[in-house]
């Protein structure tokens, strides 16, 4: 009993925190600095491996929360928010000894210190045997961010180590747990589009597939509609997946797709590029030998860049260019503006609910094959355009009317930035 009492009293000297059921918001700022401290390197992995794995662990939290993490190896230690280190037995001035190989593999203190027991056999991801340093690091970082243990299968915050399942990723529960503390990921997008590609089945049939992409500044996410999340590991730098388009971002993407045409364009400033989906890069020249990029005013007479955004409406074969409060409908066949354009955006896309309208300066106009609807995005909101199906059910709805706005992050989930230094691992 005396021994238990001393154990209890010793645990009292730890800095205790209010571990309520859902945890607490440990940091009030969005960009957090971390460092693997010099006196705390592991003896089992190279320093570069350790720093790479920890960087990946922080990125995994950043991919599902508004937080961003940057490794800081220079500032005074007191300015570093999260300090990590390896040690054995009595270590790094910590008042909780490690117990040697087995059982306790690491611990975290709510003031931002994470210690790993270097007696454990820590391994790099996909290394098979041993304890995955990545998993342990993600778990302990979760504690430092304010998450308690979560006793649910699949959660990375379970107290016991989860042996190697293939491809460990952040589950829905952990995402909602951290977002409960730090909020959802919000932000405006440069463009959103469904990328159409043709594939051949084993039987030689040609099938059409599409992927949804969200682009912001110099990076992008593939959005998995059926899983309600982005692709694991996104965002990725633009030049990784879209060769030849401006590395700092685009204004719009348009896919002119009809019986006679199949052309994809990226717009930026006063210029545009045609994109070659066969070999996945921009065209250098057009069939007449003119070099890309070209002036928008040359390629689309009557329209001049920079534009806010644009989309192609397959129903009427018009490209709708948005610029400030005006809409320019461009007739691809006639290669000229449609009659009566440009028009005010409210005349083309009237509000269904009065005064619930983006009023121009749209960020993105997105035709979604998943929803078979057009969405106008501005800031953190979007407006769905009334479609033919809506009008069959409610004939009083105006053509191309904008339904009341909703929040982007309540429709497309967990589209989160990472720190620019973490964009490339």
């Amino acid at each position: 009993k005396r021994h238990l009492a001393t154990l209890v009293s010793r645990s009292r000297s730890r800095h205790k925190r209010d571990l309520s059921e859902s945890g607490y918001m440990a940091f009030s700022k969005k960009v957090l600095r971390w460092r693997l401290i010099g006196e705390g390197y592991s003896s089992q992995l190279s320093i570069e491996e350790q720093r790479y794995i920890l960087k990946l662990a922080f990125r995994m939290w950043s991919e599902v929360s508004p937080l961003e993490f940057v490794e800081d190896t220079r500032s005074p230690l007191e300015d570093v928010d999260i300090r990590l280190g390896f040690g054995t037995g009595r270590h790094l001035g910590c008042n909780q000894r490690f117990d040697g190989t087995g059982q306790e593999f690491a611990h975290a203190w709510f003031l931002g210190d994470i210690h790993f027991d270097d007696d454990e056999h820590f391994t790099a991801p996909n290394a098979g045997s041993g304890i995955s340093l990545l998993k342990v690091a993600v778990h302990e970082i979760g504690h430092v961010l304010g998450l308690p243990h979560i006793y649910r299968p699949g959660s990375i915050m379970q107290p016991s180590y989860l042996p190697n399942e293939s491809g460990f990723e952040m589950g829905w529960m952990d995402r909602k747990a951290i977002q409960h503390l730090y909020g959802d990921c919000k932000g405006r997008f440069n463009t959103v589009f469904d990328w159409i590609r043709k594939e051949k089945t084993p039987y030689g049939e040609v099938v059409i597939r599409f992927n949804t992409y969200f682009m912001r500044d110099g990076w992008y996410w593939l959005y998995e509609n059926k899983n309600n999340r982005t692709r694991y590991g996104d965002p990725v730098a633009l030049q990784v997946g879209w060769r030849g388009i401006p590395v700092d971002g685009v204004d719009a993407y348009v896919h002119v797709w009809s019986r006679k045409r199949d052309a994809m364009y990226f717009f930026k400033g006063t210029q545009f590029w045609r994109y070659n989906s066969e070999n996945d890069q921009v065209f250098q020249r057009d069939p007449e030998g003119h070099r890309y990029p070209m002036l928008i005013s040359k390629g689309f007479p009557g329209v001049s860049g920079p534009i806010d955004t644009a989309f192609y409406d397959r129903r009427d074969s018009l490209i709708y260019f948005f610029k400030n409060t005006l809409v320019y409908a461009f007739d691809v066949e006639a290669n000229s503006l449609a009659r009566g354009f440009p028009k005010n955006i409210k005349d083309v896309f009237p509000p269904v609910a009065s005064r619930d309208h983006p009023d121009g300066n749209i960020d993105a106009a997105y035709f979604s094959y998943t929803h078979n609807a057009v969405f106008l995005l501005k800031g953190t909101r979007f407006w769905q355009v009334v479609g033919s199906r809506d009008r069959r059910r409610r004939p009083f709805l105006p053509r191309n009317g904008l339904l009341p706005h909703k929040e982007v992050d309540q429709h497309w989930f967990d589209i989160c930035d990472v720190h620019p230094t973490a964009l490339k691992l």
């Binding site: 009492a5 209890v8 009293s9 009292r12 087995g102 059982q103 593999f105 690491a106 107290p159």
Partner: protein, 107 residues
């Protein structure tokens, strides 16, 4: 040692400096339960203070329950295995400091 090792020595086990104490009996289980916050220190003068074994059984049940084990209140094999799994050192239950410090100070 094995006759042949992987070329990168990835199968070579570093000599283990020391091993964590394996949880094998009631005493070591008590240490574990206390360390991770399952024991509810209580006020000694309170008549309905649970006896020592009742406190141990209650703590054991709580551990079994959150670990998804059959809640037997008995330090059985499954519980032993679960206790010996590699785990995070952060307590599962917050230790109520006021009661514990009161109890410790009085003692």
């Amino acid at each position: 040692e094995k006759l042949f090792h992987n070329r990168d020595h990835s199968d070579v086990q570093a000599p283990i400096s020391h091993q964590a104490e394996v949880i094998t009996d009631k005493y070591t289980a008590e240490i574990f339960l206390s360390r991770y916050g399952f024991f509810k220190p209580s006020d000694q003068d309170d008549y309905n203070t649970p006896t020592e074994s009742e406190a141990f059984i209650s703590a054991l049940k709580e551990f079994q329950q959150i670990s998804g084990l059959p809640v037997t209140g008995v330090f059985d094999e499954a519980t032993k295995v679960a206790m010996n799994k590699p785990r995070c050192g952060v307590p599962d239950k917050e230790i109520d400091l006021t009661a514990s410090s009161e109890a410790v100070r009085r003692r």
